[in-house]
Symmetry: C2
Subunit: 338 residues, 2 copies
């Protein structure tokens, strides 16, 4: 910038004024400066600018698992919206690991991001302290954090699972296995609550051994399903609390020599683009990923531009039950013990 100023024979203040349009500059100087910028090929240094302005036009985005297509879709739209608004996105993922999560958040804050969008891996005290301490515009997506009162966009998890469970119950299933996500997360807890509520509404006793923790990961879900299927009273249906886990569920069913839906009905949280072309066509709960991403981005943008009301805004979206072919009436499930 100093070079430009010299070349155009003006002060840096004037150069800054034409670049930012922050002050009136005579046409003559303006064109001289613009030419000098062209000739020199000058690019304003964003770091220096950030230092002075105290803003980086960058938002930190942390999700638990970028390998999960649900998060991927959401990240893609957030990234898109934010870019259009001139913001860069700094991405972190932590493999559902709480320790790494703390590090990553620190790293983002250290880089002076202007805001944070987070899908937390777990309800960690350290994390909450860090977030509170950072005092940055923050929006939580997918998962809430007890005691952290910020903007957020989440799904009505309880209701979605409640409805799905009701659907399976309606098919006559009485022993429905439930592969749960980590109960450290609000989604893990809410989804399980939906399942239990539906059982209760149907006046079925809650049986602890029908619920197994799969931690939202394929491997753990595989093991959990194995246990479920080799137990004395095998369930006639299984619900998986997310997309990654349902792969593990299906693998376990296959490895144990059973078939879905003939022997076991299966339904899952999160939809797949290929769900109605590969068999069995999975019955799922589809999340409005586009809307989640857009609204999260908008929430942080509003907050950053000071347009938001002081009170945190909490958006709750509804899932959609996609009934396909992986669940059958229990009467058509010959080997079922239900």
């Amino acid at each position: 910038m100093l070079d430009v100023a010299k070349a155009a024979n003006v002060s840096v203040a004037t150069v800054s004024a034409v670049i930012n349009g922050s002050a009136p500059v005579s046409p003559e100087l303006r064109s001289r400066i613009e030419e000098a910028i062209q000739v020199i090929g000058y690019k304003r240094n964003a770091i220096a600018r950030s230092l002075k302005l105290g803003t980086t036009r960058t938002v930190g985005l942390m999700v638990a698992d970028i390998t999960n297509p649900f998060f991927t879709d959401v990240v893609a739209v957030i990234q898109d919206v934010l870019h259009r608004a001139g913001y860069a996105v700094m991405l972190c993922c932590n493999d559902e690991d709480v320790e790494m999560q703390d590090e990553q958040i620190e790293l983002l804050i250290d880089r002076s991001v202007d805001g944070l969008i987070i899908a937390p891996a777990g309800d960690d005290e350290t994390l909450k302290r860090i977030i509170a301490g950072a005092n940055l515009p923050t929006v939580l997506i997918d998962r809430l954090l007890d005691g952290i009162d910020t903007d957020a966009v989440v799904l009505d998890n309880r209701r979605a699972v409640h409805d799905a469970t009701l659907y399976m119950l309606g098919l006559g299933h009485r022993r429905i296995g439930y592969i749960s996500g980590s109960l450290e997360t609000s989604t893990g807890r809410e989804r399980l609550a939906g399942y239990k509520a539906a059982l209760e509404a149907a006046k079925l006793p809650h049986e602890d051994d029908l619920v197994r923790i799969g931690n939202f990961r394929e491997k753990d879900a595989y093991k959990a399903t194995m246990q479920l299927l080799t137990s004395t009273e095998r369930p006639s249906a299984i619900f998986s609390a997310n997309n990654l886990m349902v792969i593990g569920v299906m693998k376990a069913i296959r490895d144990i020599g059973l078939k879905c839906p003939e022997d076991v009905s299966v339904a899952s949280f999160d939809d797949f683009p290929w769900a109605d072309v590969f068999q069995p066509h999975l019955t799922t709960i589809a999340q409005p990923v586009q809307a989640i991403g857009e609204q999260a981005a908008q929430l942080i943008l509003d907050r950053l531009s000071g347009k938001s009301p002081a009170a945190p805004r909490r958006l709750v979206l509804q899932g959609r039950l996609m009934i396909r072919e992986s669940c059958r009436p229990v009467s058509l499930t010959p080997r079922a013990i239900a």
Copy 2:
């Protein structure tokens, strides 16, 4: 930092020395300073540091489509390795859009990233000019750029598709449809070349109307497959040049009332975690995503630490043909015209 210096009654230079361990400091002052840091809760400002040092410890990562599980997997490991090395990752994706790609790269460079890892959407002149002009450590992944001579890690695409085609040929297929990716990308071109080479080796005439462009996207692949399947001489097998497109291929097969593999054999580039549990079990070419990510990250890390040789390093990995059940001998394909 000034506050810390005052509190400990020393100069900022000394504070900086203990924080960075860049100069010897007496035990007494050191402990006094460390205490002051604790008390004040001081965090060094990375922006100011970057300004002085001319380095941000951030690398820009741009992939064509973060919704594509292949890229997702690679991004996840790159992110992981880089984080361990103390680098942050700034992520961009451009939906295979060349214009947006230019913008995004500019945005990354504008943020003063220390290096760039790119899977370019297309062989765009502007992009190449920008990259060359930025004069940053750069590593290309998955796709090369004509005339840009940097570190890179890619797959031996030609050979992988060549082998897969040979496999289908071995099953007796003579009319193999090919849904190609964008020929603006090196992968698009190389994969197609592998297909053609295999046909040639089998002394089969090359027929232009067996090759359709699907641009690596599901929708385009769907249309392309529709054309292929409604043509007068329907192919008995179809190869899809990536994972997203094979969904489109399968949807078209379904919508036209055919079955895979009974009526049409299908194989595809890129593997899926669910490929051997949902039907038909797809025959695919698996890429070593872990290795690609690790090596790309290592390449940029070496370059950033000046450990690399001056000459660019080009790593070529091999794909693996995962033979499953979506391809059958042509003799078992009753309705085939082949």
